[in-house]
Point group: C2
Chain length 104, copies 2
């Protein structure tokens, strides 16, 4: 299993606008092969920004990489650059391989 | 839902030892109220470290906070300081509130 996260440092005061963009968007993930689950996450508030993260669980790193080369990916990201002023710098991508799982 | 992550910058060459500590430990999470799922995650390798993260899903932030005050928490963390040389600095904690979920 593989978790793809993008970290966004959202300018203080722009949190609602940022959430609005995400919550109002058309997601094209539901039918993508290997897609397991998506979360939009709100993290800690710092002096000059609030951390948000997109958090997508994939069956494998390969499934994630296939998606990044797909038409569904292109559609999901078209116009994303237009929201740049809501956050500082570029989103920071981190991909994680699941090494161990513990369940109740 | 709430996701508690601790980020560890593991010294290059110590990855196997770090994984061994986690994979060999006694977890006391399974029966904790509000515990949903735990993952040990391996992230990107940088010049001087490899990023790892513990990733625990909780039913709520309150369930997480109750756990941090519990005997199970104390047991899970006893002796953790002894592994300090395997990573740079302190683990960095980030708590995330789940704002949106998309499923297949």
């Amino acid at each position: 299993m593989f978790i793809a996260m993008n970290r966004f440092r959202v300018v203080r005061g722009s949190e609602r606008d940022f959430e609005g963009v995400w919550l109002g968007r058309e997601t094209h993930l539901g039918t993508v092969p290997g897609f397991v689950e998506f979360h939009l996450l709100k993290g800690p508030a710092r002096d000059d920004h609030t951390l948000y993260a997109s958090h997508t669980v994939w069956a494998s790193q390969g499934a994630f990489e296939d998606w990044t080369r797909s038409e569904a990916f292109r559609k999901a990201h078209q116009g994303a650059g237009g929201n740049r002023p809501l956050y500082q710098g570029h989103p920071e991508f981190e991909g994680f391989e699941v090494m161990q799982t513990v369940e109740p």
